[in-house]
Subunit: 330 residues, 2 copies
Amino acid sequence: MSRNGPWTREALAAGVRAGDRRALARAISLVEDSDPLAGELVRDLYPETGGAYAVGVTGPPGVGKSTLIGSLVRHVRQRELTVGVISIDPSSPFSKGALLGDRIRLSDHFLDPEVFIRSMGTRGHLGGLAESTLQALLVLDAGGKDIVFLETVGAGQSEVEVISIADTVVLVLMPGSGDSIQALKAGIMEIPDVIAINKSDHPAAKTMLNEVRSILSLDRDRSWRPPIVLTEAGRGENVAELWERVEQHRAHLEEGGQLEERRRKNLAAEVFAVASARAKRHLEETVADDPELRRLLDEVQRRQLDPLTAVREIMEKVFRIDAGNGSDPL
Amino acid sequence: MSRNGPWTREALAAGVRAGDRRALARAISLVEDSDPLAGELVRDLYPETGGAYAVGVTGPPGVGKSTLIGSLVRHVRQRELTVGVISIDPSSPFSKGALLGDRIRLSDHFLDPEVFIRSMGTRGHLGGLAESTLQALLVLDAGGKDIVFLETVGAGQSEVEVISIADTVVLVLMPGSGDSIQALKAGIMEIPDVIAINKSDHPAAKTMLNEVRSILSLDRDRSWRPPIVLTEAGRGENVAELWERVEQHRAHLEEGGQLEERRRKNLAAEVFAVASARAKRHLEETVADDPELRRLLDEVQRRQLDPLTAVREIMEKVFRIDAGNGSDPL
């Protein structure tokens, strides 16, 4: 038996196309392991992708993103849509097995053959998290899922790269998310397509709604004004309304031909993100293996060689880029 | 007159060494403009650096980082230490001129010849924010500043890279910083060296103190247990205590020889961050200029070529890296 078990490339592609759970699970494991077969598989499947609608669900930890996704999955399943969930939030209950405590209800979905839930670790991806997420999304897309939810915790560059592949981005906040409100206000956090304020039975939920609304009202130039929905994910309250807003955003994008444009930009950004992550890894590996490059770092440490000259020498050696010409003369 | 005005490389280096304000300002402007002269200057000055102690002050927008830095500057100046401040927080009042509203008192420091305050934009740095910040820090270091404060908003990879050069990292929170608390709890936010809970006259400040304390108590393995200080920056309350904690952390690092070790790691990380940022920029420029590479992106968009094959072709062409061998066979 080969290391890929009973799966040949053809069998795996056929299994994914048929939406077979074991094939999907195996394919995403290969993606996580950066196995060459994953790349071949995605290459085979790519022409058939584009049918899934990707909904990014982001926000600080603890606001109830997973519970909200659980409720959205239930709602979407009632409409006969098939669903995939990729969670790359290390604090997500999905990542912890999704079977603990009050999250037990999420496990219902694990038994539904038309729902595929998978959490991915945030570490150890050779090509970076953006690459693994993109591949996993393409696998579920080729597997015939109508909707794929991407759950990420909303902080950090790598998470931004992950979420940027989504067609619609939902930001989830809760009363107490003061830092996120400040970040939106300061223009540091990007404006999402839809905002959910979860735990709407909290007395401060309405205050937060008004705060967010007044922040968004400052930006009148958008063709799409992000709607804000008060939800209570645990009881499924306003989840239908939230989903309606997502569908309205989708319709907005589709009407104006903006969906293709957005996907075009997203894919290009993703290609850059993946290539940058690989370049960085190549850099680190090369320096680790090369005594001469390590010596440069020692000289920097001893204040004998300045860091930017070290960068230039490393760039020349690792990438054969002459950083000493053109617009970047340092 | 040359584009650098009256400043030759030698005059600028001499001016920086003398701590001349105009020379420092000019040098940091050159850094911000990615002017070749900045690189030469830093190369000249680097052997003389290492004397400044860098204190990173990070946290969500709106918690009062700038006001706290203002109070710390006043405190440190009373002890006859010279000070530099580099603010790379776009929401900082420093970035807005530091002369507005209730921040007027910060302007006192602008008149003190031993205090140099400079805000830097977060965009437009050819070599990335990490590179500019490192260079600005080295300039102030060579200019004889005893303490350099680096103010960054605590979110995103680029800010993490910026703050990682600091010898001591102070995280500033306030009552209402629920998202940061959740991120600390979830292990998503890195544990800083010192925590300040600002706006300590807020009724919820004590509750937050206890929350943070209980989160930190879970991590018993550190040789340094991050102290938590309740401050009220506007009135300067507990600022002396906060500074004492910073000095205790410094003493802790110096005693065990850990300061050198930390700086060694920080500098190496910085070199990688700068090199990665340059590799990314090189990638984007090359693709923008090359019709064949742009065609790859078009094919990805039309689902004719999968994104990872596109990445491989781009890597081969731009970096002459054969991504098709070794540990990364995609």
